[in-house]
Each structure stands twice: as C-alpha cells, then as structure tokens.
C-alpha cells in the first residue's frame, strides 16, 4: 500500500504521466497532431519528456503562441494549467480577453453528445456521426453550440473522395457552430434522427473540456481517416481530456464506429439519453398517417421536404408552398405531432459477427465459419437501424467438408442493399450492390464465381416491418466455367422481407438470365432466410436455397445452412 502511494506522485505531473501524453494527443508513442507547431520541441511528437521541458522553458518567457499570437496561458490553457502545477509559471491575463470572452459567452452549464443516425436509403450511414453540444444558460436548446470534428474537403465526390477519406488525405479540424445549423443540416437536410445524450461532467471537467477545445481548435489539425481516426475517435479523446482518469479512446485503434463509441460512453456511465429529434422524413411519415395526405399541414411538410431534397425547386412549387402557409396561418393547431423514436443507437447490435454453422452445398455436408467485421444484414435485429437495409464489408466464410480441410468458401468485399419503401412524397428507389468471391457456386457447377453486381428497383411496405421489393440486377460474373472467363447477367428479383425484433424472414425469387459469348443460361433460385434471436447479441440463422435450371433438370439442387451467430 505504501509503495503504491509513493509511486503515484512519481507519475503525476511528469512526462510519464498518461494525462500529459493525452494533452499532447499521443496514441502510444506518437503524437497525432499533424500541425508541427502544436509541439514546441522539434521532437515533441515522439518525445513527451522533451516536450515537457521545452514547454516549461518557453512558457516562462514572454513568447506569444499559436495562430492568434496569445500568451501561453490562453494559447495553451490546458497545457499551461498542467505545467503550472509542476513549476509556477507567469500568467499574462491582460492579453487574454479573447479567450475569456469566448468562454464567458459560451457559459457552458452542461455538455451533451449528439448522435446523428442513418439517413434514408443509405446503408453506409448506419454507423452514424457524433459531435458535442455545449449547453448555454438560455432556455432554448437550438441556441446551444455544437463542437464538431470534421474533414475539410473540397467539393470532391465519388471515388477520390472515398480513397482520400480512407487513407488520411484530408485534414480534420475541430469547429464550433450554432446548434440550429447542425439540426438544419442533419435533421432537415439529410433526414437523420438526432439523439442527445447528456454527459455527467463536473464544472471542472467542463472547464478542462473548453480549454482543450480552444487549445486544439486554434493550434492543431489531424489527418482524417474515415474508418479509424474520425469524428467519434476525436470526440472520445476530448472526453478523455475532460475527465482525467478516462480512457474511452483506448479501445479504438483501427476502426471507430460512432454507434459503438456511444456504447463505450454508456458503459462508462458518463451519460443519459435526454432528447431525440426525429428527422423530417419520420415527421412526414407520422403526419401523413395521422392527418392524411390531403391535410394542409401534411402538404406543407411534404413541400418542405421537397425543398430540402430536390435539386430543382422551381418557382411554381415555391408559390404553392407560400399559399399553403398563408392558409395554415389562418388555422388553429389541434394536434401537435411528435414522432416517437422507439430505439436509439446504443441499442443496436454490435457490428461484428461470428457464425458457426453446418449444412449442405453441392450435395456435400460441411461446417462453416463466418467472420464479418462490419455487418448489418436484412434479417438481423432491426432495432435502431435503417429499416430494410444491408451493409456488409469484408466478410469471410470458411468451409470444411469430409474431403476438404478448411477452405475459403466466400469473401465479400461489399454487399449492400436498401429497400426503402416507395412513398408518394419521397419516391425513393431501392437498390443493391455486391462485390464478392464465391467457391462452390451452384450456377457454375461448383466452381468459383466472382461477381460485380448492381441493381435497382422499387419496394412497397405492406405493414410495419414487412416489405416487398422488385429489383432488376445487372452483373458481370467471372469464372473459369465460362468459355471466355466471364458472363453478363440480367436478373429480375422479387423479395419479401419481414423484420421484427425477435425474428426476421426473407424470401427471394431470382430469375437469372445469363449470356456468354456462345450460349446463354437461364435458371431460377428460390432463397429463404430466417433469423430467430436467442438474446440481444445471439441468434440462430437458417438459409435454404433451391436451384433450378430451366433447360436441364440434372443440375437442380437444394442447399442449406443452419448456424449460431454471435454479434460483437
């Protein structure tokens, strides 16, 4: 016990102190800040001791720091306060008006984390986005300020945008803006639900948080990696600075999924869900259900939606909305519609999957092991997720039969679908895409098949949780079964999907038309999938596939697999 008490002071307030390394934004042995000037010593980003010594030395002078040319105690308030405990340092408040004015105007009483959920028809957004909200003393929450970590990108799109984001070519900065701008952007502009969770930070912790935001906001930027060092990672880092013994970011080295960080924070007991703001999408759904499409207010909401989402909002529509609003202004409100959000992101199942199963493929019995690092499937538990969607990245299936040892059965780079129901006001198309490698593929007589697929169509919601979709997919299949090595396919697909908390089922009919150079092939597949939950993160999954070739019955076959799935 005495030994422990002795060793603590050795750590605290020294370059070995983990808190000092947090102040320097270290991960392991290296500082993450890409702005060289953030570190006062040339090797400050790899040597915390040198950085401590150099900071102490320079903070004792009259030097001005950072982009705003401020004295140390307000250019680096967090660092200065820490070092001031080691050795008393000169404090220059007369030139610090800007900093104090900023803090005083914010007058932060509470801090919340806001989670922006998925947006419609976009399964890639299921992992969400997080940012901080600083509560001021005023009544209305829209006047709060949001603190966000974001990449500054030019108006790049598509592949370059994706690659740059993946490999850290964009710079990420902290920025602050009125919360109403964020609500407009996410809730109205993008159709995303917002969830506000209040943090239980003490006044001291809030003060440290503000110091950290000012310090890094003015002096630093980071390489932005969309998969790992992203908005949610840096938000955790800020919280780890606010609360001295907090290490929320430690679990996130390579992949940081925003919805998962919400669970981490929840586990640390820092947090409580306070308010959810339904997206405009959801609001219209509710309004349409309760008031009907002919109600003036429904028409107003639909017009608002069109304005936010359509690229060409014309004069006629503008006038129409104006007249609808004049009408509305003469009416007294009888019912205020507030859509209830039943689930929030911390309730979603974990994104990783391990599945152990067995079944028959090509008339051979075998066992299968599946690993999916980031997955939400159509039949997975839907709570908190974008309905009727699938997003699967980098999944691997290994198979072992009596004759073969463990072999790669399937590798899927990406498999994504979105069966957003058609609504008269949003008219979204359904779609799906796939890039996969399959062994023992049934339509090529058990050989390997590589597929590049995309498809589009339309879906209709039959009742809550039940949707039916009609798609046309086009894909290139590559296999040495084909004389030329590849074939082109055009397949109509009809899907019926029922997703509920406890179980889900999928029925798919596929009418395949395949063309090779010299011949074509037509076949039919009927797929059934079923999931039954045993717990929050455990379920049983069963799949059945019937294959029928129109011209030759001898290839007809049934395949099946039953497995137990664990979600992490």
């Amino acid at each position: 016990m005495a030994l422990f008490l002795f060793s603590c002071p050795l750590f605290a307030n020294s370059s070995l102190d983990p808190y000092w390394k947090k102040i320097l934004w270290y991960e392991g042995d290296k500082g993450l800040v890409s702005e060289k000037s953030f570190y006062l010593s040339p090797s400050g980003n790899i040597d915390p001791k040198k950085e401590l010594d150099e900071s102490l030395r320079r903070f004792k002078t009259n030097e001005k720091f950072g982009s705003l040319k401020l004295p140390a105690n307000c250019a680096y308030p967090l660092r200065w306060k820490y070092l001031n405990k080691i050795e008393p340092l000169p404090k220059n408040d007369s030139e610090c008006e800007e900093f104090y004015a900023w803090k005083n105007q914010l007058a932060v009483k509470k801090v919340s984390i806001v989670f922006a959920g998925y947006y419609s028809n976009n399964p890639a957004s299921i992992f969400g986005h997080t940012f901080l909200k600083l509560h001021g003393p005023q009544d209305e929450r829209l006047l709060d300020y949001g603190v966000n970590f974001a990449a500054i990108t030019e108006k790049e799109t598509g592949l370059f945008f994706g690659l740059k984001g993946l490999f850290g070519y964009y710079k990420g900065f902290f920025n602050i803006a009125p919360y109403f701008l964020k609500v407009n952007e996410y809730s109205n502009g993008e159709g995303r639900d917002l969830f506000e969770y209040e943090l239980n930070l003490t006044p001291d912790e809030i003060d440290r948080l503000l110091d950290a935001i000012w310090e890094i906001g003015n002096n630093g930027s980071f390489d932005y990696y969309f998969l790992g060092k992203n908005c949610s990672y840096y938000l955790l880092r800020l919280l780890d600075l606010a609360r001295i013994d907090s290490h929320l970011a430690d679990d996130y080295h390579y992949i940081t999924i925003p919805s998962e960080t919400m669970k981490t924070i929840e586990e640390s007991k820092m947090i409580a869900l306070v308010k959810s703001r339904a997206s405009l999408d959801r609001e219209i759904n509710e309004t349409n259900k309760k008031l009907g499409p002919d109600n003036n207010w429904t028409k107003v909401k639909v017009a608002q939606f069109k304005k936010q989402t359509l690229k060409n909002w014309n004069e006629e529509e503008k006038e129409e909305l104006h007249h609808l609003l004049i009408e509305q202004s003469k009416m007294k409100v009888t019912e205020v519609i507030v859509p209830q959000l039943k689930h929030h992101p911390a309730q979603t199942h974990g994104p990783m999957r391990l599945e152990l199963g067995a079944g028959e493929i090509n008339k051979k019995f075998g066992t299968q092991f599946k690993f999916k690092p980031a997955s939400h499937d159509l039949i997975d538990p839907p709570q908190g997720h974008l309905p009727y969607s699938k997003m699967e990245l980098l999944s691997v299936t290994l198979r072992s039969t009596k004759s073969n040892e463990l072999n790669l059965q399937n590798f899927t780079l990406i498999d994504t679908s979105s069966f957003t129901p058609w609504k008269y006001w949003s008219r979204r198309l359904s779609w799906r895409g796939e890039l996969s490698h399959q062994q023992n593929e049934i339509s090529v007589n058990g050989r390997r098949l590589d597929k590049i697929l995309s498809g589009a169509g339309i879906s209709f919601e039959l009742s809550e949780g039940l949707v039916t979709s009609f798609l046309l997919t086009g894909h290139f299949d590559f296999s040495n079964h084909f004389a030329q090595g590849y074939a082109f396919n055009l397949d109509p697909e009809w899907i019926i999907l029922g997703t509920y908390e406890k179980f889900s089922f999928l029925q798919k009919f596929r009418f395949a038309q395949r063309w090779e150079k010299t011949k074509d092939q037509q076949f039919f597949e009927s797929t059934e999938e079923f999931r039954y939950s045993l717990g929050d993160n455990d379920w049983i999954r069963a799949e059945l596939l019937f294959y029928h070739q129109w011209d030759n019955k001898k290839f007809d076959q049934a395949q099946w697999n039953v497995g137990w799935v664990r979600a992490f």
């Binding site: 407009n184 109205n188 502009g189 000012w214 202004s329």
Partner: protein, 160 residues
C-alpha cells in the same frame, strides 16, 4: 490584375450590401452529396458551412467572433439561417424554431406564447411574398412586436 481586384471589390461590396449594416451574413451553402460512395464517408466526415476554423474570425466580422454569434447580431444570424423553418412554424403558430426566435430577440419566456400567436396573426404581413428576405422578415417581426401592447419594449434585441 486590376480587373481581378475590381471584381473582388465588387463582389464583396455586394455581399456587404445584402446584409445588415455591419456586414453579417452566412453566404455559403451546405454541400450536399449523396452518392453511395461519398455517403460511406460522409456520415463521419460531415461537410458543413459551419466549418469555420476556430480562432479565425471569418469575413463576417460584424456577426461572429471565434465562431460564436455576437448577442446583438443573433436575431439577424438566426433569421438568415432559419428563414424557412421560421416561416413554417409561424404559419403553424407554434414550434421550437419560433420560440427560439423569440429568445434570440430577447423576449422573456412568459411571452413566448404571445409572440407565437401574434406572429401567426400577422403572417401575411411578415411574409408577404414567397421571396421575402430574412432581413425584411426580421424587420416586420420587430414592427409587429412594437405594435403589440404586451410585447412592445419587452424584447431586448428587437428594437428597430
């Protein structure tokens, strides 16, 4: 070079004229992109016109300082950013954007209901056409406040 300078001056003076006398305004638009690939990253990268760098006071110097809106400019800034939402709330006679507007104008909380009712009553005065600008709207709202016996003089930042 002179030509470029002239254009720059012209453009900046136009934008100054479009705003209040202290040259406050938002200017930029939300960058919207919703293709499949971009969305994969967009969900976390988040481009927005709120991405002002920290300590750097942007060109809208009369309006904000270190990205915080100056209190007396709050009604202008708020009106500009939320004109559409305000229009809808005002037509309805209730809503969060509307009560927040009341607070931005400095109206006490016990007068928020009155503010909502009055603005709804005077909707066609406040938004006479579909092209009413945020500033015109703001000035009309200030006039409505002035003309109402319960509201006049109660909203600190609503003086004309």
């Amino acid at each position: 070079m002179k030509k470029i300078l002239a254009i720059v001056v012209l453009v900046t003076s136009f934008s100054a004229m479009a705003d209040s006398s202290t040259g406050c305004g938002l200017g930029s638009l939300i960058w919207k992109e919703n293709t499949i690939i971009s969305a994969l990253f967009r969900s976390t990268t988040n481009h927005s016109f709120s991405s002002q760098l920290f300590g750097i006071t942007s060109g809208t110097s009369g309006c904000s300082q270190h990205s915080l809106v100056k209190r007396d400019m709050a009604p202008v800034y708020y009106a500009e950013a939320n004109k559409e939402e305000l229009k809808i709330d005002m037509a309805r006679g209730e809503g969060e954007y509307l009560t927040t507007f009341a607070e931005a104008l400095g109206c006490p909380s016990n007068l928020k209901k009155q503010f909502s009712n009055e603005t709804q009553k005077n909707f066609s005065k406040i938004f006479p056409t579909s092209n009413t600008t945020p500033l015109e709207m703001l000035n009309s709202v200030k006039a409505v406040i002035k003309e109402n016996s319960s509201l006049q003089g109660q909203c600190t930042y609503a003086s004309i």
